[in-house]
């Protein structure tokens, strides 16, 4: 029997990894909920407000992006526009080459994963080093992130300690503090030796040109403080209209992502070092990346561009908890990834069309989304697109004949009666894949087709 890729991946997931993913996701969700509902009387109203702000922003990128660009240029920032992933990689390489830079320190950015920046720079002789602890471990292991804010949710302490020992970062020690100290010792002089620092941006404010970066490890601050050149890689959808919008969005982001009232470091960067300032990067570049976003904006799933990458939908998702992040074969796993990956990633829609179907449409993701993205509706729209484009879907039965049956009452009643045959045949042996898939782990109740209608007739005949 053929199974969809994500279902196969979930079946193969090892017990240790499943335990890490489930435990991490569950506790992340529970802490978020208790903090959000403890702090705010009506968090759902805030989610809707934030969703409205983000929706307004992405629907008015045509005015907010030029406004942001003008402010940034006035603030001394060089702005670059990258329509594609290749353009974005080339822009970063161009900036580095112009300075003769060969060593780059990177704070966490999902976008750099999306466009394959690290690998691209490596091929062009630039050493780029991940400085977020999780991303650092991923890079050491030649692994991929499995969660958008906790990249190593799939790993446990023992695996990390073993990896540190293998790569000479530090002796084997499972103590989290020892792990952190070893990474810190290793990274600290790398910052000092770097020629440039690259960060993402959580938000870019149109009215001020401010770039907002939130982290918990201070690594982005080191990237800025220790290097002469700061490059910001940011998707064009990360715009918010006004500085004051950040009050709401930062409050929701930190609570939704890591169950914190405020992240440990929240940086507002307006430009390169001013003449009177003692230190900081003398050059600042912002690379705005489209890479398919304009097309998403033009389609029927544009609400996905509201996303502020908090990961709350991953944590609550029962499918993510069973399958883990790698099963999504994308930088963006979980519910958000099931929408974003087929829309944004290079290999095209068909290669990822199984992801929107890998959902029971339970709606938990929509319920926790800080910007109120109706993720189940978007998954359904992508399923309809797969239907329109004729993308095959192993295991899911076709519905054309069924719909004809279900719109002809006499035929429907005849089928209800005929279904009794099911009780006399072992359903698991029938040449109907859906029935066999059901019977693999579940019993089928006895067929009682038409019995209710008979009962109702008898009841109505009663005096």
């Amino acid at each position: 029997m053929r199974f969809q890729p994500i279902d196969r991946a979930a079946a193969r997931l090892g017990a240790a990894e499943r335990a890490s993913v489930r435990g991490g996701a569950k506790s992340g969700h529970e802490k978020r909920t208790s903090l959000l509902f403890g702090d705010f009387g009506d968090p759902d109203a805030l989610r809707r407000l934030a969703g409205g702000i983000r929706q307004h922003a992405v629907e008015n990128l045509d005015s907010y992006l030029p406004a942001a660009e003008a402010r940034m240029e006035a603030n001394g920032v060089r702005v670059h526009w990258a329509p594609t992933a290749a353009d974005a990689c080339a822009a970063v390489l161009g900036i580095l080459r112009a300075r003769g830079a060969t060593r780059l320190v990177k704070a966490k950015t999902m976008l750099s994963e999306e466009i394959g920046l690290g690998e691209f720079l490596g091929r062009h002789g630039i050493e780029s080093l991940e400085t977020d602890l999780g991303e650092f471990i991923v890079q050491l292991d030649g692994d991929h992130p499995s969660h958008i804010i906790k990249p190593i949710l799939h790993k446990n302490r023992a695996q990390i300690a073993a990896s540190f020992e293998r790569h000479g970062v530090g002796p084997y020690d499972e103590d989290p503090e020892a792990i952190t100290r070893a990474a810190r010792r290793f990274l600290r002089h790398k910052y000092m030796a770097a020629d440039a620092g690259l960060t993402g941006a959580n938000f870019v404010v149109a009215e001020s040109g401010r770039v907002v970066i939130v982290t918990n490890e201070g690594n982005s601050r080191f990237c800025l403080a220790a290097t002469r050149c700061h490059i910001v890689l940011v998707g064009i959808e990360k715009i918010v209209p006004r500085d004051r919008d950040l009050a709401l969005l930062l409050n929701l982001l930190a609570r939704s992502a890591t169950a914190q009232q405020l992240t440990v470091y929240t940086e507002f960067v307006s430009g390169p070092k001013a003449a009177a300032q003692p230190d900081g990067p003398e050059e600042m570049h912002v690379v705005f990346v489209d890479n398919g976003r304009t097309e998403v904006l033009a389609g029927d799933c544009r609400e996905i561009l509201r996303c502020i990458r908090c990961g709350a939908c991953l944590n609550v998702c029962p499918v993510y908890r069973q399958a883990g992040g790698h099963a999504y074969r994308s930088v963006y796993p979980g519910p958000i990834g099931a929408v974003l990956s087929p829309l944004l990633l290079g290999e095209g829609f068909a290669g990822k069309a199984d992801l929107p179907k890998a959902s029971s449409l339970c709606g938990a993701c929509h319920e926790v989304c800080p910007v109120d993205i109706p993720i189940p509706d978007l998954l359904l729209r992508l399923r309809a697109r797969a239907g329109r484009e004729g993308v095959p879907s192993p295991g899911v039965p076709p519905f054309g004949a069924w719909s004809i049956l279900a719109s002809r009452p006499a035929a429907w009643r005849a089928a209800l009666a005929a279904g009794k045959l099911l009780d006399h045949l072992p359903a698991g042996l029938l040449p109907i894949p859906a029935l066999r898939a059901w019977e693999g782990t579940r019993t089928l109740p006895r067929w009682r087709g038409g019995e209710f209608r008979k009962w109702l007739k008898r009841r109505r005949r009663r005096p």
Binding site: P318, V319, K357, R381, G387, P397, F399, S407, F452, R453
Partner: protein
């Protein structure tokens, strides 16, 4: 006050029996009729009804689904409430169908049907104003919130009804907000994930040691009950309507006839 007095006159409702009850769970549809009639409703069962169209909708075959929804619009013509013993089928009509009819010329008719379609528990509590259920039902009940009732009044309605029944104890279980893993075609398209989700739900339910697992949706219960039985440790599953009906039958003199 007995609920039947709270329902003004003979309120006419159309029953959407659901295809699952039509095929497998006739007693649930029957219980729904009995409960609604007890509440003073005149229950019409349009015989031409088939399915709400959700299986094709979820599978991405929207043209096929729209064909079935159009059949629903014809079958459930009129202006009285359409009541379904399923949060899932009701949500298909008031939410799902609205999505797939965006830009279709007959969307207004689909909207009108969606507006008068209610899940049973929601209809009893918020449509008819029934606050407490009479009778008696001796059981420890674990109530499973079906996901299609997220963001609706159905979950709270069912819990308040069940909680008001004499003798019935609602027991809580872990990770109640998590899906059971059914998800329609998801259950057969992604059988490993679906079954693992169901297994987790069952382990939480079992830990709470209820006598019965109750829900407003037979689809969840078919999946969970089927998993439990296949695993060699069956659990007793019942629909909300069955519990309400059986509570009436178990009512002492202070039940049906007296103060609720």
């Amino acid at each position: 006050m007995p609920p039947s007095e709270a329902a003004p006159g003979a309120r006419r409702v159309q029953l959407m029996g659901t295809c699952l009850c039509d095929a497998f769970f006739d007693d649930v549809a029957a219980a729904t009729v009995e409960v609604l009639e007890y509440l003073g409703c005149e229950v019409i069962f349009p015989p031409g009804q088939t399915c709400c169209g959700q299986p094709a909708f979820n599978a991405g075959d929207w043209p096929a689904s729209r064909r079935v929804v159009r059949h629903c619009v014809d079958t459930f013509a009129g202006d009285c409430p359409v009541v379904a013993p399923s949060g899932s089928c009701a949500a298909m009509l008031f939410h799902g169908a609205q999505l797939e009819f965006e830009g279709e010329p007959d969307r207004p008719a689909v909207e009108a049907l969606g507006r008068r379609t209610r899940e049973l528990g929601d209809f009893i509590v918020n449509g008819l104003g029934t606050r407490a259920w009479p009778g008696r039902y001796e059981a420890r009940v674990a109530f499973h919130h079906s996901c299609h009732t997220r963001g609706t009044a159905s979950g709270a309605a069912a819990r308040s009804l069940l909680g008001s029944i004499e003798g019935l104890t609602l027991v809580e279980f872990g990770e109640g907000e998590q899906c059971c893993g059914f998800g329609g075609t998801f259950s057969v398209g992604f059988p490993h994930i679906s079954s693992a989700m169901g297994g987790l739900k069952l382990s939480h339910v079992r830990a709470a040691a209820p006598d019965e697992l109750v829900s407003g949706d037979m689809s969840c219960l078919m999946h969970l009950g089927g998993l439990a039985e296949k695993g060699g440790a069956p659990i007793r599953t019942r629909h909300l309507a069955q519990v309400l009906r059986d509570a009436l039958a178990g009512a002492g003199p202070a039940g049906i006839g007296g103060a609720a």
